[in-house]
């Protein structure tokens, strides 16, 4: 077992050695520009890209012509939201999304607002799921796009995308999903789920950083987005720029491996996750955040009341995890995702996200449990809030000085 243990697989995943192996030739002997149509160097690179396009399409049940390669999910989110707004603004100017989305979606929506668009940011239920009735009530004849993520990066909840897509379509809007955390972890199928646009990223599924894709539906309906990058007209004119051939080949291989292994991986990881979670919620005043039925198999987000997340992570220095505490950020604001579940600020500050992955072992999970339990216990012994809680003092009755 190697220390520190990596349990932050929602932030990024290590590359699978098989992915690296597939990529290597495209850095040197197969270095050609995939857009060079008139010599073998270009053809070889193009072949690599075409094959990767098929591998990506297959994983999400799409056709290869519907895959646009990008630099990652942030770019895909931006291209989808801004591109749809520009393309369809004659039809309507209203977009619906949710408050728990990734910043790439939220900030792209804010940009659209500056361009004169109207955006509805749906609140979510206490378990993190979008309320379908609230969504339907927000739909207007002006609504052109509903953008709701597939699986949440912080708490792992899986949205009812099929039902959300049906509501969007009923009102003539397109449905887009940021599936960065879901693709390669659970079954995602653009036709089964009714998805019109989908963003994905390689480095969240054991592929390289700096490459991703946007799925853009071609049939029923044929979706168009206005390019956000002008240039040589690559990727059917939707995304100019010389293709990142080694990255794209890596993304393809990562998709192929995920397609073959994710069903069994999901079973293994959810068993490990459940083991971790049940061992840690034995601690008094610890709470699992988010819906526990509809969620990704590898994520556990737990608040340990009366200890602060960043301090806790420092005590768990053998573990690489993340926290909803934003003590390091200048704003001092805790996670907006956790707050939108109705968590009080102090519980949001007290949260730790464990993100398991393909290379996580049971031994590592057992060790993580021990380290976490010891750290929580030690910090509670040092916490004035824990002492007051134990003395039966209602912390809400105290007038805290804002600072």
């Amino acid at each position: 077992m190697n220390i520190p243990i990596y349990l932050d697989n929602n932030a990024t995943t290590p590359m699978d050695p098989r992915v690296l192996e597939a990529m290597l030739p495209y850095f040197n002997e197969k270095f050609g520009n995939a857009a060079s149509r008139n010599h073998p160097f270009g053809w070889v690179a193009e072949e690599g890209v075409d094959y990767a396009r098929e591998q990506v399409a297959k994983l999400i049940g799409a056709s290869e012509k519907e895959i646009i390669f990008t630099s990652g999910a942030t770019e895909s989110d931006n291209l989808a939201i801004k591109g749809v707004f520009e393309m369809y603004k004659e039809k309507g100017n209203h977009i619906i999304t949710a408050v728990t989305e990734h910043k790439a979606v939220l900030d792209a929506c804010k940009h659209v607002e500056k361009l004169g668009g109207k955006v509805t940011y749906l609140a979510v239920k206490e378990d993190g799921l979008v309320d379908l009735e609230v969504l339907e009530a927000a739909m207007t004849p002006e609504t052109i796009l509903v953008s709701i993520m597939y699986g949440n990066n912080e708490i792992g909840v899986i949205q009812p995308v099929k039902e959300i897509a049906a509501i969007a379509h009923k009102y003539g809007a397109l449905f887009m999903t940021d599936a960065t955390q879901a693709v390669g972890k659970i079954s995602v199928d653009v036709n089964r789920d009714g998805i019109d646009l989908l963003a994905l990223s390689a480095h969240k599924m054991y592929g390289p950083k700096g490459v991703g894709a946007l799925y853009v539906r071609r049939k029923g309906p044929r979706v168009k987005v206005t390019a956000q990058m002008d240039g040589g007209g690559h990727e059917r004119g939707m995304r100019s720029g010389t293709l990142n051939v080694p990255g794209i080949v890596g993304l393809g291989k990562a998709c192929e491996i995920a397609g073959a292994e994710m069903a069994s991986e999901a079973i293994r990881l959810s068993a490990l996750r459940d083991k971790l979670e049940s061992a840690l919620t034995v601690l008094e005043e610890s709470y699992v955040n988010g819906n526990v039925e509809h969620r990704l198999p590898h994520v556990a987000n737990i608040s340990f009341k009366y200890v602060e997340g960043e301090g806790l992570m420092m005590a768990m220095k053998d573990l690489a995890v993340s926290s909803g505490s934003a003590c390091t950020s200048a704003s001092l604001e805790p996670s907006y995702v956790l707050k939108s579940l109705g968590l009080s600020d102090d519980l949001a500050h007290s949260s730790i996200r464990f993100g398991l992955g393909r290379f996580t072992t049971e031994e590592e999970v057992d060790y993580a449990v021990e380290v976490t339990k010891t750290a929580v216990t030690n910090l509670r012994n040092m916490s004035p809030l824990w002492e007051m809680f134990k003395e039966g003092i209602d912390l809400d009755s105290i007038e805290w000085a804002e600072h």
Binding site: Y306, V307, E308, G309, E310, G311, M314, A315, S325, A326, C327, T328, S329, A330, L332, P334, S344, D345, D346, H349, N381, M382, S383, P384, L385, W386, E387, L395, I398, W400, A401, E402, H403
Partner: protein, 137 residues
């Protein structure tokens, strides 16, 4: 963000964690910060008849820098007169622990905790609380 060696030392081996009898008139207690801000410090001092701080204890809910700031504060308080304790400035803590700018509020909180503990002691012993200039946050 990497922590300085001194922060890690105080965090790993915190000095003077604990609780003094807050009902004693020899003990001053300062409780500052707020749970929703992610920092709460409780700092206590025990003062003898010569106005010397003979013991200091803390408990802190917060990040590593907050815990280290309060641990350092208790170390500095012990043996000081109450008047000298009043002179501890948050920037001394920043310097000693090499706190980065985003962590300066932790030192401010420690200074506030010291002053709150002293004032609690003063009020308990029939003295006027010292008016505090609004600190840096």
């Amino acid at each position: 963000m990497a922590y300085s060696d001194k922060v890690i030392d105080h965090y790993t081996n915190p000095r003077n964690v604990g609780t003094l009898d807050k009902s004693s008139h020899k003990v001053g207690t300062g409780l500052v910060g707020a749970p929703e801000c992610g920092d709460v410090m409780r700092l206590q001092i025990q003062v003898d008849d010569n106005n010397i701080i003979t013991d200091a204890k803390f408990k802190t809910f917060g990040c590593g820098s907050a815990i280290a700031s309060s641990s350092l504060a208790t170390e500095w308080l012990k043996g000081k007169s109450v008047d000298d304790a009043m002179k501890i400035d948050n920037m001394d803590i920043v310097e000693e622990l090499a706190l980065p700018p985003v962590k300066i509020h932790c030192s401010v909180l420690a200074e506030d905790a010291i002053k709150a503990a002293i004032n609690d002691f003063r009020v308990k012993n029939g003295m006027e609380p010292i008016a505090l200039e609004k600190s840096h946050h």
